[in-house]
Amino acid sequence: MSDFELNIGHFYPDLLNLYGDRGNVLSLYRRASLRGIKVNIKSISIDSELKPDELDLCFIGGGQDNEQNILKDDFVNNKGPLVKKMIEDGKVFLCICGGYQMLGKYYLEHDGSRLDCLGALDLYTEGADVRFINDTVYEYEGKTIIGFENHSGRTYLNPEGNCKPFMKVVKGHGNNGEDGMEGAVYKNTFCTYSHGSFLPKNPFITDMLIEKAMQNKYGSDFTLALLDSSVEELANREALKYLNV
């Protein structure tokens, strides 16, 4: 029996599972397990009850429009207030693409119709007709981060609002193709457009998320043991080489 446990909440895995987002959960699972932490993955979908106390780290991916429409009501109206409180309380979240947009205030469709979102982060998204589909490279705390973006939404953060950009764009479009920034961070909630999957080739971020979740649970002096990352680093390096960066 391990002394330490990590409970991952995987939101709507049957609906939000685009572009290998599943790989992010596998990354969290692997890098925590290899350190002797017992990892439980809990699926939270439309029929399931959300119990914040039973979750240490939450993941929300992106979905096809049709799939996202199915869950929007359940997410915003049923689970929304609890999710908002979890975010405020400093629970660790990683949200990708659709999951990212849903945490903002609203999504303004290309035809002018407005979809109200959760409003946990002070940002909004506007639909556009040109999709950003390309490999991406970002910089985060001196590290080179690799991803793949595929989104038509343009996201804008309120400069006076509660959240800050997550990463700096080195290659690709980022939030809106204008301000050179990618994603958003508020407390321990990290949002990005990066599919790809995001975490496997960026173990630095995987570890950061696990460590924050473990510190929330076991105290701020909890540190993760060192782990060999040579394959992750090789994949990161080879991807950069392939992209000529």
Binding site: P13, R22, I41, Q64, D65, I70, D135, V231, E238
Partner: protein, 475 residues
């Protein structure tokens, strides 16, 4: 009228010239003809007997099976298997490979989006839709959109539809078109019985497609499943369920469809008839492809020979004479050892191929090749949608990784729980060296399974031809 003749003439001249230069010329002649006369497909399809095969997975295998079956039944068959499945490729096949024989049958593998555009011009007699799985979403967009495209194409024809009843998206194409739809699938009782053979557990289920009813937005309930979202589904709200099949596969997984000589039956519920057949191209997903091909051939024979009672029996017999095509499970003999290439282009394909290799009794090693050129989709994220985790431990002990994106694939295999020593991977320039190493370690009679995606397969073919002197062996 004159323009289409001009287009046809131009296409023929281009084909001749390119062939003299040693090129395949499967696209350019048709492309030029369409430019000269947009109506050229309609013109050249007129009066021809055409079967189209569309769907995200199994198009080539099913088209190949239908072609071989019809050939063995004495028909002249013209198809586009060695060519291209977009409008330009199909125009090329119709114009340049067309036969004077009025009884010739054209078997046309058709890309989903192309089908929407040209189905009305082709006016096929029979249209097969194999299945709909996520496939390079960065290029094709959403699955429901693909389904709607196919529906649009279908409505411009009066073809008899051969639809997979186990795939909710494909089965929904039969709604409102009941009088011209024939369903095929795995037999529902059989599927339920086979649920007893437990699958290995996994850390995290594979990313699933189409498990919610698009009309009611409620999750389908399944009595049984074969794999992925295919199974005996039912919407608890509107009651839409996997329709009753005319043709269904009765099978038993006590032995493995991955082994050669696997036997099963196909049932024709309309005539209460059943025939035992042998699976000629191994892999459990080929139960679907074989059944689709038998359904299409039976229906075509009935149409051509005014409901001849022998049609189903003839089709079943013909299915036992099919041989594998290169790149589709064909085993290439190299000095008593074998190489088998399984093309994998999307998560469903990779999932099925992984299952196949774990079950194959002759597997010596497995090699993955990953590229991300435009024809592959620029996005390599799809390798994470596959449940590698539950199968990794049953893969052969030697795993090789190559391709332009070998770093991504190496990480994928590593995260599935298999460590790979550094002398077993490298970029595309190392691919041939790795194949040779795998062959060296391979025992007599055993097989090296290679799973490339599209452009890495083309490159690998070239290398194999060059290295082992296998002249044009895929044609």
């Amino acid at each position: 009228m004159l323009r289409s003749y001009l287009g046809i003439a131009a296409a023929k001249i281009i084909r001749k010239t390119l062939r003299l230069m040693g090129k395949g010329a499967t696209t350019l002649p048709g492309k030029t003809a369409i430019k000269i006369s947009p109506d050229v497909i309609r013109k050249s399809a007129e009066g021809k007997t055409i079967i189209t095969v569309t769907g995200t997975n199994g198009k080539t295998t099913t088209s190949h099976m239908i072609s071989e079956m019809l050939t063995s039944l004495g028909y002249e068959v013209i198809n586009n298997i060695s060519g291209a499945n977009l409008a330009s490729g199909i125009a090329t096949t119709l114009i340049c490979d067309g036969s004077k024989n009025k009884n010739a049958v054209y078997v046309l593998e058709t890309d989903e989006a192309a089908f929407a555009k040209i189905a009305g011009s082709l006016k096929p007699t029979v249209s097969v839709v194999t299945n709909l799985f996520r496939d390079q979403l960065d290029r094709y967009g959403e699955l429901t959109h693909t389904r709607d495209l196919i529906a649009g194409g279908i409505d411009k024809t009066d073809a008899t539809l051969i639809l997979n009843s186990n795939d909710s998206l494909v089965a929904s194409l039969g709604k409102g078109r009941e009088n011209r739809t024939v369903f095929f699938g795995l037999n529902k009782e059989s599927m339920l019985k086979n649920s007893a053979y437990k699958k290995s557990s996994t850390v995290l289920e594979a990313s699933s497609d189409a498990v919610y009813c698009p009309t009611c937005q409620v999750k389908y309930e399944y009595k049984s499943r074969s794999f992925s979202h295919l199974g005996d589904f039912c919407c608890p709200k509107c009651g839409f369920k996997s329709p009753d099949d005319r043709f269904s596969v009765v099978y038993d997984l006590k032995s493995s469809p991955s082994d050669e000589g696997y036997k099963f039956s196909i049932q024709d519920s309309l005539n209460s008839e059943s025939n035992e057949v042998e699976l000629k191209i191994p892999g459990s997903h080929n139960l679907y492809n074989t059944c689709a091909a038998v359904s299409a051939v039976t229906v075509l024979l009935e149409k051509l020979n005014s409901n001849s009672k022998d049609s189903f029996k003839s089709a079943c017999e013909a299915s036992c004479k099919v041989k594998a095509a290169f790149g589709r499970m064909e085993k290439i003999d190299i000095g008593g050892k074998k190489i088998c290439i399984l093309l994998v282009k999307n998560p469903a394909g990779l999932d099925r191929s992984l299952s196949f290799v774990t079950e194959a009794s002759d597997a010596s090693s497995v090699m993955f090749l990953l590229n991300s050129n435009i024809a592959d989709g620029k996005d390599v994220s799809w390798i994470w949608d596959v449940d590698f985790e539950s199968k990794a431990n049953d893969l052969p002990s030697d795993i090789y990784v190559s391709g332009e994106r070998f770093g991504d694939m190496l990480l994928r295999v590593t995260y599935a729980g298999r460590d790979i020593p550094s002398e077993f991977y490298g970029d595309m320039s190392n691919a041939m060296k790795l194949v040779e190493k795998a062959l060296e370690k391979c025992e007599e009679g055993k097989c090296v399974y290679i799973l490339p995606n599209y452009t890495s397969m083309l490159k690998l073919r070239e290398m194999l031809v060059h290295r082992f002197n296998l002249k044009d062996f895929w044609e």
